[in-house]
Amino acid sequence: MTFVKTKIELSKLSEGDILEVLLAEGEPLENVPRNAKEQGYNVLSVEHVEGTTHRVTIKK
């Protein structure tokens, strides 16, 4: 579901815009960067924020 929401937000952006996704460890952390890359988006970074939350930065 995290990737579904990410995909929807990405579709609203224009080329070159950047999206920050805050997500939980585990499946979202594995799925979102991998699927974003497969769909042709540029994954700029994956950082640990605090606790189980991570931040993934994606550029369209």
Binding site: M1, V4, K5, K7, I8, S11, N35, E38, Q39
Partner: protein, 195 residues
């Protein structure tokens, strides 16, 4: 493929090879495998149930697949028509008194019962609370996501007539009204699920 030599699993990499030479390993390249896999990225769901939990499954599968590039078709039939009604909430729609009763009982997404533990309507409320608490998308959010991701929504013609509904009773995103034959044509080549 290992070192340019096709391995056992590659017999399936070209569609025609399955029909004509099922036992013979077929020489192929990774490109052909990828092409066949991409062609098969289609998911069709027959949404027969109108229950809260089963509809959640329908839309979770649909949106999840669509998000990773699948072409998704959802065919709403019988109780599933409840999910695509325009008028949310119970109302007496329909031609005669029987269909009006159905119109009242099938009040759209807000009042769908769970398939078990409904407890006169307490079930869905409890599950919605649990889902919200765990930050899981609600059924309405999933339906919105389905519309945004361009999932093809279809209504079943037969069920529509029986329950006294018309195309105008459904949300505008419903692409078409179909019968079984058309739906089977659409779903060819992909995976089909019955929920």
């Amino acid at each position: 493929m290992v070192n340019g030599i096709p391995q056992q699993g590659y017999v399936k990499c070209h569609k025609r090879a399955i029909a004509h030479m099922p036992e013979t390993p077929y020489l192929c390249t990774q490109n052909q495998t990828d092409k066949v896999m991409a062609e098969n990225k289609k998911l069709s769901i027959i949404a027969f149930s109108g229950d809260f939990d089963k509809l959640t499954a329908v839309f979770t599968l649909g949106t999840g697949a669509a998000a990773v590039g699948y072409e998704v078709n959802i065919f709403f039939t019988f109780w599933g028509l409840d999910a695509i009604k325009k008028k949310q909430g119970r109302s007496f729609t329909g031609g005669n008194w029987l269909t009006k009763i159905f119109g009242f009982m099938m009040g759209g997404l807000k009042v769908t019962p769970t398939s078990r533990f409904n407890f006169l309507g307490a079930g869905p409320k409890i599950f919605r609370y649990l889902m919200r608490k765990n930050n899981v998308a609600t059924l309405e959010e999933l339906v919105e996501a389905a519309k945004v991701l361009g999932i093809n929504l279809y209504a079943c013609e037969m069920a529509m007539h029986v329950l006294g509904l018309t195309k105008e009773d459904f949300i505008p995103e419903v692409k078409d009204v179909l019968g079984v034959a058309s739906f089977l044509n659409l779903s060819e080549g992909g995976q089909t699920l019955f929920i």
